[in-house]
Amino acid sequence: MALSAGTNDHWDWEVGSRSTWGSWSFQELWAYRHLLFRFIRRDFLLNYQQTILGPLWIVLQPVLTLVVYVLVFGKWIGVSTGTVPPVLFFLCGILLWGLCNDLFTGTAFIFTWYNYLYSKVYFPRLIIPFSITGTHLARFLIQLVLLLVVFVYYWFWRSQPVVLNVWLLFVPIAVLLVAAFSLSLGLLFSILTARYRDLSNIVHLGIRLFMFVTPVIYPLALVPQGIRWLVTINPLTALFEVFRYALLGQGSFTAGQLAYSSLSIILMLVLSLVWFNKQSARLIDVV
């Protein structure tokens, strides 16, 4: 090889029979960034085309969910939310879980949904899951404005004390980690659902059940000691707790749990990205 390198010149790309684990081209991803933003833009345009309320749905959806949760879990079942008003407590959970749920279900079927593109034209395959991530993060940011409005209402009219603490700085990182968790799970399942169509039936059910081992509608403090390990083994738990602690001043987590969450999620993300990159070229023949 070394001999031919001298006589032969440089090739921009190569298609071989094997994709190596390290066949990464950040340059290529960067070159296609326009496509990424265009896909995000497209998702927003498409979602609210020909609807009366348009983008208002981004905040209406969590509001409607909130009403149901406050009534069912807050009033009837009586989940204790401590000193925090149920509306604020549930809204925090709903928004963060919404990001998690939408991002996962949005990426878990990309090989089936985007086969019409994947099998017709080449572009870095990761552009699609990245654009879906971008779309849902942007939606989440818009929904945070809703949270802020509700906060201001409680602050001024209900004189709910606002406890600003240093963990507020950790919120963006927590949100990104939650997104990274959903993305990596989505990437793994996108490969599995492409190979095994049967799984698509389980995926929706699975994510719904997963919500119950995540402190979305209950605080971790409410979980009986005996089964608490089931909830704390979930990397999302510490992130949900720290999110609510930073915003509402209530939540239970330790530095160890946070470190565990962060490290396991980063590991998951790296593994899923590498696996996706390796499998994607091969899966086009299967789907």
């Binding site: 071989g16 833009r41 190979r195």
Partner: protein, 424 residues
């Protein structure tokens, strides 16, 4: 520095039928359980294994393409042309071998890839452009040109789902034709739009082909277009490279091969020859009237059909009919021979079809034997398959020539010198 921009060496692609891609988790687990853990061969799986066959879509294909060349890829359906283009476009991976390349590749395997029906023409132009590897500035620069080429200025801000199919295809082709990758890959894109737009497309293709920096790979079944646009060509058959070289030679040998062995049929054993107890067809041949036997039948070629049948009944009034069908299944003509009283033995027939009569396309002859000018005795369907290639001179039009037939009737055309009978 060599100016080879695509270097393919030993490219092969195997598709396995039956084993993988069944898409059921249960089946995969079951197969794994049976073969790996129990070490037993379930008869069901054995049967499945035997059924599983490998299809070599491409087999050891190697070639080099230099910068600025325009290549045509020809071959029958299923010869592996599209698979090869998909590998070069990096959509799928070869099973063996590799393709290396320089510069950006824009592939246009299907017109309108990436178009979303709900989005406006404007949005779709940008998405398609980005998909084909252009950046925002490049698309902006070409935007006006794309829109005016497609001729849909008024509708550019309307969702494309409201477009007519013609408008849709015109916009899609315009985007693709204006993108500027170093290597452009096109698969059967000429069959779009109305005739005026087809002409526009071909002109645009010609313009792209003349650009000395642009390398083009072009798959088409339109031999005339390949011949006209491409300098180089390769011919694939069942995944193998049959011939590679100057387009004229490759196209001629490809078209020639389509005809060989299909034009002459002789049966030596009367018992197995097609027919029944009354008649047997012993030979059925098409002889093109051209000097070289390996030449190509085109629209100018006169044709002779010759057949020989064995009659097993004495003193019967027989006649024969020749039916010419095109591949759309329409009967182009039905000519009947005169009826004669035949004794037992051989009966011969011959029919001439003049040149400058059939349009280009694929045809087949069927032979019918009739008794007493009304009762069919035997119908031999689809006996001779052949293709008529296009040939034209003094025209710049390379789209499909219309009509079931293409006769040359006397046709005068020119300034009118007769005394005017008009308003004078």
């Amino acid at each position: 520095m060599s100016n080879v921009v695509i270097d393919a060496s030993g490219v092969s692609k195997v598709y396995r039928l039956g084993v993988t891609g069944t898409g059921s988790f249960r089946q995969d687990v079951k197969r794994w359980w049976n073969t790996k853990l129990l070490k037993q061969e379930n008869p069901f799986f054995q049967a499945e294994q035997a059924k599983a066959s490998e299809i070599w879509a491409l087999q050891d294909v190697s070639f080099q393409i230099k910068r600025g060349e325009v290549w045509g890829i020809v071959g029958d359906n299923g010869a592996g042309k599209s698979t090869l283009l998909k590998i070069i476009s990096r959509i799928i991976q070869p099973t063996a071998g590799r393709v290396r390349g320089k510069g950006t590749v824009g592939s246009l395997l299907e017109v309108g890839t990436g178009f979303h029906p709900e989005l406006t023409g404007r949005e779709n132009i940008f998405i398609s452009g980005h998909l084909l590897g252009m950046n925002k500035a490049q698309i902006r620069e070409k935007f006006e040109e794309i829109v005016s080429f497609s001729g849909i200025e008024q509708f550019i801000d309307t969702p494309v789902k409201r477009y007519s199919s013609g408008m849709y295809v015109r916009l899609a082709f315009s985007v693709a034709a204006h993108l500027e990758p170093d290597i452009l890959i096109m698969d059967e894109v000429l069959a779009v739009g109305d005739i005026a737009f087809q002409k526009k497309c071909l002109d645009k293709m010609q313009q792209l082909a003349n650009d000395s920096h642009r390398t083009i790979l072009f798959v088409s079944h339109n031999m005339q277009a390949v011949h006209h646009l491409c300098q180089q060509a390769m011919w694939l058959q069942r995944g193998k490279l049959v011939s590679i070289g100057p387009a004229t030679e490759v196209v001629n040998s490809y078209v020639g091969s389509l005809q060989q062995n299909k034009l002459r049929h002789r049966w030596l054993d009367a018992n197995t020859a097609p027919g029944n107890e009354y008649v047997r067809i012993l030979s059925f041949e098409l002889i093109p009237g051209m000097p070289a036997p390996e030449g190509v039948i085109d629209v100018r070629t006169p044709l002779t059909v010759r057949f020989c049948i064995q009659n097993n009944e004495a003193g019967v009034l027989l006649n024969a009919g020749l039916h010419l069908y095109n591949y759309a299944g329409e009967c182009v003509f039905d000519v009947a021979s005169p009826a004669v009283v035949c004794e037992e033995g051989m009966v011969k027939g011959e029919c001439h079809i003049p040149g400058h009569f059939l349009n280009d396309g694929a045809y087949y002859f069927s032979l019918i034997v009739v008794r007493d000018t009304s009762i069919p005795v035997y119908y031999y369907e689809g006996g001779i398959h052949f293709e008529v290639a296009d040939y034209r001179e003094n025209t710049a039009w390379f789209g499909k020539w219309k009509g079931a037939v293409r006769p040359q009737f006397p046709f005068s055309f020119g300034p009118d010198h007769s005394p005017s009978t008009g308003s004078g």
